[in-house]
Symmetry: C2
Subunit: 298 residues, 2 copies
Amino acid sequence: MKNNVPPSDLRVFLAVLDEGGFRAAAKRLGVAPSKVSTTVSRIEATLGAPLLVRTTRSVRATEQGRALADRIAPLLAEVDQACMETANSTGRVRGRLKLNVPGAVMPDILPPILTKFQRKHPEVEVEIVVENDLVDIVASGCDAGIRYGASLEKDMVSIPIGPRVQQIALAAAPAYLEERGCPQSPGELTMHDAIRYRFHGGPLLPWMLKNGDETISVEPVTRLTISVNAMNTGLSYARAGLGIIGMFRNWLEDDFSAGTLVPVLADCWRDQEGPRLYYPGRLTPTPLRAFIEACRTS
Amino acid sequence: MKNNVPPSDLRVFLAVLDEGGFRAAAKRLGVAPSKVSTTVSRIEATLGAPLLVRTTRSVRATEQGRALADRIAPLLAEVDQACMETANSTGRVRGRLKLNVPGAVMPDILPPILTKFQRKHPEVEVEIVVENDLVDIVASGCDAGIRYGASLEKDMVSIPIGPRVQQIALAAAPAYLEERGCPQSPGELTMHDAIRYRFHGGPLLPWMLKNGDETISVEPVTRLTISVNAMNTGLSYARAGLGIIGMFRNWLEDDFSAGTLVPVLADCWRDQEGPRLYYPGRLTPTPLRAFIEACRTS
DNA sequence: ATAAGCTGTTCTCCATGAAGAACAATGTTC
DNA sequence: GAACATTGTTCTTCATGGAGAACAGCTTAT
């Protein structure tokens, strides 16, 4: 009977309410905003009742829309749960795993973990979304995310992934050091130009250095601030002699070997907490659960 | 997450189980069999589990398919209920009404009822499916059906629609009566040729006639048996002098007026139960409820 | 006051899913 | 045993739904 609303359409409607907007819902569902718009309009036409009030810049449910959403959301969630359990009941780890990760883990942290994981679970198809600015994993339609230093969102769980610590190393081009001198103590860094990286969400990668038995925070003169996503850009400027760069040591190894960058105050480098895997605390699909296990055992 | 099965697909899966086959499910849902086939296959691929075993000529659920169906069927039914109640909450009678009716009610019984109904409820879109052979209203994807003399199916309710009784009239062409003589009593009918109508499902329209104070069943010599759907065919043969025809009086009025057919044994005509509206006993959409009310008050 | 950025919606075009036809397989009837 | 009827599935074609672009409207920043 054509009076029925396809429950898949209802899931679109629920996503709009969950995300607070059509574009956010579209992003989470991996569809175009126009589909979300036309789907909600079609539901309203079929039921003959407005479900959403679209004030510009915000969406909110009507009374009827809220009542409908409250009633069907747990039902559709349980349908998803039933499907997931059917999928899991085969005992095979299969399906798709979508990870939202910063560029920073792309060169050398994630590849070995993924390679091992996919060899162990060949039926899992992995999709990597490289993004730095977005913290909300669910809103981006991903199963899990990797982040440095992000605070824990509601209902999210985090475990370490990759190196438990990473050293923040300082480096400069030989030409820069010949011109400006090589600092002999952390205090001298304030007289130098710095190239600093900024995490998503605004915080700079801090320059915390060891000074004898203590750790001090150094605020150098910042000539350039770059998103952690644009890793290679920062390295290029550093190689060009723009200043002293502060970055994860593993990123700098190739330049050290090639001589294009030289370590600065190597004895003062201190450890930084490594990246963490974030995922929703419940409704864990089998592929994600297997990946979590792979992270725990690596 | 692409691990999710669209719940609309699950509805297709449930229809296959309900109807016991792919083609029956396709008919009920108003889609092509190929869509049902590919939809179920897609669900099985997504979940990585066979849900149905398709022995040729029969379909049955696997253990996992049965478990999944048992769990999600009430959930999706409640989702439909929630939508229906949202639609009803506007207080407006709107939507679609799909009726499965025999051709017998098309000329003069249904039109006045529908005309009145649609004038009262202009927002309802009515679709009429003319079918005689099929008894299962739900399996045909209709909201309700009209039938003569059909037995009550499980969970179905019936109310009279249109005339509470209809007379079974006998008639013949003048030329036939001149040649064979005009029967003076019901008993003489056995010496005449008959044109009889058959209801869907096999029973013939019985020739029950009054004989004094009693009612007798007459079994004439049947020259032609026609489905009630082919009403005009039977009339044509009768006009051509093939025999005495037995049919609802309202169908014969035009021929009586035109003189193309003449009443036979008019004093012996007895009343027959009129048609009935059949509909599922629960989950009554608003358009159907309004139509039921219209039938009750006409 | 203007520009920029973001929203939801509408419109256009095309890729995809669905309809329809054809097929292979099986059970029933003659 | 052959013919017939029906099934589920596969293949081909095309109509439609969705992506993408553009639009109108609104809020915020300059």
